[in-house]
Amino acid sequence: MRRVCRIEERVVETPSTVTLRFDDPTVARPGQFVMIWVPGDDELPMSLSYTGPRKGVTVKRMGDTSGHLLGIAPGTPVGIRGPYGGAFDLSPRRVLVVGGGSGTAVLAPAAEAAHAGGSEVSFALGATTAPEILFSDRLRPLAKELRVSTDDGSRGHHGFVTEVASELLASDRFDAVWTCGPEVMMRKVAEAARPSGTPVFCSVERHMKCALGMCDACALGPYHVCTDGPVFRSEELLALPEFGRWHRDASGSRVGPGA
């Protein structure tokens, strides 16, 4: 059911991302997303970066609506539907979290919940450049290990986060890998985990409209991301020719290099 919540806090996380917090008693689990409506503008899917009663979404500037959302002042009302979709399984005792850019948003509450439940959590967080690393201060206190990479080498490993992830996977043992970021990145993470047989869980994005598993906008192979996802096992995704290659736009047309 849709409801209206006022933005209570606005936190600039990185030059391109802002967290918006709002009070909403609905029970949510890490991994789930909401549809957030900026009145007078579009309604967008956003993963919850905080899942408690004071919820949060961490928004990256993409186009107009995310730009508008990102700029809204505390006190502004927004429409909320959800939470929708499935959550991360929090039972693994040793988890590797691999976040690419704003993808870390959805991983943070999962990591916190796993840590609170007694699991060991290690992190590989990547971004284009140092100030874009998301949530490293939030996550460091609970990290068994936290490594960072930047494309420009301004902080941590100079290169891709997948390289850091591969190293960690080689040097340590994990019961699960959780990842969110560009699909090519998640594909590489899945490949890096294959030798050890560690299961990889990916949070995936597709164009969304209904979020009810009905309109087919978010169709991904035989799945619907809004109801079957957004968290999938990497084997499910790697079996799909489209994963990392193409997706559907608002019209349902296939777009992307492999379309």
Binding site: M1, R2, L44, K209, M214, C215, A250, S251, G252, S253
Partner: protein
């Protein structure tokens, strides 16, 4: 168990539960998914001449488990891209109806020809698109236009053509008659009911488009009334749609005059697994009520088994 095969004119389905247009019908794998789940067949998303993104979000407002308002705005990848989706489902043997929408008779018949080439078993004409002459009215509210479009499509293709009726009109049976006269092979009734949602906190309409279409259980009585009134007037088969969530609901439509039914919103409320449960549930229901087959139920409520006793004492007639 009762025979569940459902016949709509020359077409035959393993059970009467078809996927309604616009739900799970954008991708070929979703059409196939509905069939694998157990549907008797599927109607594609309504396809137009060009790719259309549809209206911006919000496109949906939910009401409990009894209603849903949508203004998707006919998003679709367009007739050039869409055949590859159809191919996925068709190759797996899914009995498909291709839904099309256009601005006028010419566009409809061009789309019909292109859609016919994809190998669908039949066409469904979605006449709920806005009337070309503006005023926000729907093509399907004008019997002359419905006749003209149906006729043009029937001239252009050999496939069975189902004409989908809007409930947003004074007399749906009049529209159905126009379609029948123009050669339609079946009537699909109904599309969504015109509605609007306002958010009182935000002081504005919820859907980006403003008005939308109501679907789900709330419109079952509306759909049944349309099917009933159409069945009184036309001889071609009727496909019932609107608010069906259970085998009971479906039987109500069959008794009112439908030869098959379609299911849309219930997929959101119950999941696609619904198509797996409904045929068995309908079979049990028919057995209990003594109907040997789906065909035996069609239109039966128009001539009930227990005749009304003479009752001159009724207060009014």
């Amino acid at each position: 168990m009762a025979v569940l095969t459902s016949r709509v004119g020359t077409l035959s389905f393993r059970n009467p539960f078809l996927l309604a247009s616009g739900v799970w019908g954008e991708s070929g794998e979703s059409l196939l998914g509905a069939w694998r789940a157990g549907a008797g067949g599927a109607v594609t998303k309504s396809i137009g001449a060009e790719p259309r993104p549809g209206y911006p979000n919000p496109t949906i407002e939910e009401y409990g488990r009894w209603g849903l308002l949508n203004a998707m705005g006919l998003p679709n990848p367009g007739i050039r891209q869409y055949p590859r989706e159809i191919a996925i489902a068709r190759e797996a043997g899914v009995p498909l109806l291709g839904s099309i929408f256009g601005q006028d008779a010419r566009e409809f018949s061009e789309l019909a020809v292109a859609m016919a080439r994809t190998g669908v078993l039949g066409l469904e004409l979605n006449l709920s698109c806005p009337h070309a002459e503006g005023l926000g009215s729907e093509i399907g509210q004008d019997p002359a236009l419905v006749g003209e479009i149906t006729h043009a499509v029937k001239q252009a293709v050999k496939l069975p053509v189902w004409v989908k009726i809007t409930p947003n009109t004074a007399d749906p049976a009049e529209i159905a008659l126009a379609a029948e006269a123009a050669g339609a092979d079946a009537i699909t009734a109904i599309n969504t009911v015109r509605g609007l949602a306002i958010d009182p906190e935000l002081g504005r309409p919820v859907l980006a488009h403003g008005t939308g279409g109501l679907s789900g259980p709330a419109i079952k009585p509306v759909g049944l009334a349309c099917v009933w009134k159409i069945a009184e007037k036309v001889r071609i088969p009727i496909v019932g749609v609107g608010g069906i969530v259970s085998a009971r609901d479906a039987l109500e439509y069959l008794l009112a005059g439908a030869s098959a039914v379609q299911i849309g919103t219930a997929v959101a409320f119950e999941g696609i697994g619904l198509f797996g449960r409904l045929p068995g549930e309908l079979g049990l229901l028919l057995d209990r009520l003594g109907y040997p087959s789906v065909s035996d139920t069609v239109g039966r409520a128009h001539r009930p088994t227990v005749p009304a006793p003479p009752s001159p004492g009724r207060p009014n007639h």
